[in-house]
Symmetry: C2
Subunit: 433 residues, 2 copies
């Protein structure tokens, strides 16, 4: 049974805190296995990749087959029906247009002392994108990871995607091509992360690895962090819908189920000031759960982690939502803009009844890789910023050094860092000669 | 002996690769101890903090003494001599002015389909800053961490700083006050990180933790990551100086020693196209190592990790520097701007002979918390961006949904996510009714 709460009940605070603290993810301890796999790939390179791929993906690959050839990609891409190709092209164009606006600007200026200050942004040279195989092999995720990298100017973008039993997803390869991916490898699991981080004879190492994966992939990303950059480790998906009495309960039910169907650990929460709507949404969810293709997954998610909260007013809804800090927040209310101004923590906001969250998964334009598990309190979704880095710039003139150098000398002395002070003093003495 | 290399020697590539791969940091395995400390603080709160502080810092504190009172801070701040106060104020003002320019802008626009798209930045609600005690208790680091947080709009900023044997650094408290820090606690080590992440009766939990620390602090930060955000785990400091024959060898020597004196694991590298300069710098370093206060530390760093590389021309210097991706890069050459344009990976660049790196440690304005251990390939120094997060915005209109909704439906179907498609279809059907 999902949780039904009323914010005016005496025990609400305790129940809400329990809801916030619920652990939705089992993290099997695969760290030792992953450490061995990484060590093996570092030691034996391609040979280890081939052996591990044979074992885990039941694929006998030669060294030449580790990477998809252009001809192989051409052949697979040609299988994609026209309607799906057009939809993917539309999505790619919209995602690219959105992310192009994220490119940060270089800055430089001269201050009152004559010092030039500023910063410059440069792209990561090479990035790797992990794409899961099998059921969770989503072409939309390829676009969402690869397009920001290419917009940022990443020179070399490699994808690894396991092809268990030889099954490759033509849409994934089309998405890679539309996004401008440079290399695609038929490898997966911790071995793919090891190859991207450390390189093998066939796979050149990258500087940053992004993309979702199972527990082995997540553990491998944690292990190679430092050697390369990684994106966040994503948890199960989640949606919070704030709705008022004007909402269509069936739409809200479907929006909530569109998160629930992702994963048994997904979470869907409705907060409303209308008890009748709460009931109607709940009834509609139960009806859809009779027929939905992924009803077993969605049903388990709704039963174990679903929640409906009735509040006296929408201000309270915003306050509770900020405590949840949801990955996806839908504001299905009359004045969505006004309430959006009160939202301080959310990965993405979907404004108004005509904006189902699923639009954001595919074609809206914003990224669908978003902070989960309340991490929107301190982190952001994937963006161009994840593929660029800032170099700060400083240039002193003799006059500027005369003006501010003595303060640096004083502070160096107070921190007992003599050479720091001397490096400034030697120049100041030269000016005073 | 530091390494002396010539880029035109036959074995240069092998030697340079060895230099790049040198591991400069011992990470003692303190993870189990840290896990126990965190569990203890979570279970027993203030009582655990008091007990651990008694054990590690030899301080008997009451609950009321865990936090510095305003009067205690006033009294300590009053001890700071006028010259040091003025220097710290100057540094704070310059750091604030630089970081205020980093505040990112909100954006929103309406696209050709009538969809409103954009994003909003919001600050982290509460942040904690770890400040080491004892020798490495640097007031400059307090400014560099706290000012970006306050510029970002962080509502509540707490500092933890251990006071072993009751020793507090008045300059650290002055820096905290100048930066607008709200709370200062007399705790340190893994127990301080645990208190910031999980909260105790006295310390309210924060959402993000930054600041340097020893192996225990670093391990604790890794452990609480996910529950809260953390900054990078900083490694030993490093400088790479590119200098030509116009350089003053004594200035270069002091700049290199100003990194070496930080830590026995620090690294100073000189790359020059002038073999005579290489020799002169080396001689000057050896001379200063006779008298420098921290000569034991600086000498060990120079002996174990120092390097001098002679190159045929400055293009080669830029190329090698990009492979190092240094934390600090000084360009002590005639045309520093031209070479800076060829630098793709560096935490901070110091342009020209009048810009010793030490200026950047204190009063330049840019942040001195910078990526180490070659991580400038994929990450940036601390900034206002570390204390804000982006929420993406999407609002569809009926017309926009009609235009792009069908593409979302198609992609949802191809990913076998039926409820995603239905959530769009239900709205489109309503429009077509």
């Amino acid at each position: 049974m999902p949780v039904f709460l009323n914010a005016e009940d005496a025990d609400f605070e305790a129940s809400f805190t329990t809801l916030l603290g619920a652990k939705r993810e089992d993290s099997p301890d695969v760290d030792r296995v992953v450490a061995d796999i990484i060590a093996d790939v570092r030691a034996r390179g391609d040979a280890a990749l081939i052996e591990l791929t044979a074992r885990f993906d039941r694929m006998a690959l030669s060294v030449d087959e580790l990477r998809f050839s252009d001809a192989e990609i051409d052949a697979l891409v040609a299988e994609v029906p026209a309607e799906e190709r057009a939809a993917l092209e539309r999505a790619a164009a919209r995602i690219r247009a959105y992310h192009e606006r994220q490119m940060p600007a270089d800055e430089s200026w001269t201050d009152a002392q004559g010092a030039m200050l500023g910063w410059r942004w440069t792209p990561v040279s090479a990035a790797g994108l992990y794409v899961p195989g099998g059921l969770a092999s989503y072409p939309s995720s390829v676009l969402m990871n690869a397009i920001p990298a290419k917009v940022a100017g990443v020179g070399r973008l490699a994808i690894t995607v396991p092809t268990p039993d030889g099954q490759a997803n033509p849409l994934v390869l089309l998405a890679a091509r539309l996004a401008g991916v440079d290399e695609v490898y038929r490898i997966g699991g911790a071995q793919a992360i090891a190859a991207l981080a450390y390189g093998t004879e066939t796979v050149a190492p990258v500087d940053k690895i992004t993309g979702p994966g199972n527990a082995f992939v997540a553990a491998a990303k944690r292990r190679v962090f430092g050697k390369v950059g990684i994106d966040m480790i994503a948890g199960p998906s989640e949606i919070l819908v704030i709705a008022d009495g004007s909402s269509n309960p069936d739409w809200i039910a479907l929006d909530m189920l569109s998160q629930a169907e992702h994963d048994e650990s997904a979470q869907s929460i409705l907060i409303t000031d209308d008890a009748d709507l709460a009931k109607a949404v709940s009834v509609s969810i139960d009806q859809h759960l009779q027929t939905l293709e992924r009803r077993e997954i969605a049903g388990a998610s709704w039963r174990d982690y679903g929640a409906v909260i009735v509040v006296p007013d929408l201000d309270r809804a915003a306050e509770l939502s900020n405590r949840v800090a949801p990955e996806h927040l839908e504001l299905c209310i009359a004045d969505a803009d006004a309430l959006a101004d009160r939202i301080t923590h959310a990965g993405a906001i979907f404004l108004g009844a005509w904006t189902p969250e699923a639009i954001g998964d595919y074609v809206g334009g914003p990224n669908h890789v978003l902070p989960t598990a309340r991490s929107a309190r301190f982190s952001s979704g994937l963006s161009v910023m994840d593929f660029v880095k800032r170099t700060t710039l400083t240039r002193m003139t003799p006059a500027a050094l005369k003006a501010i150098g003595p303060a640096a000398e004083t502070l160096a002395k107070s921190e007992s860092l003599q050479a720091h002070g001397l490096s400034v003093r030697a120049r100041l003495d030269h000016l005073n000669d």
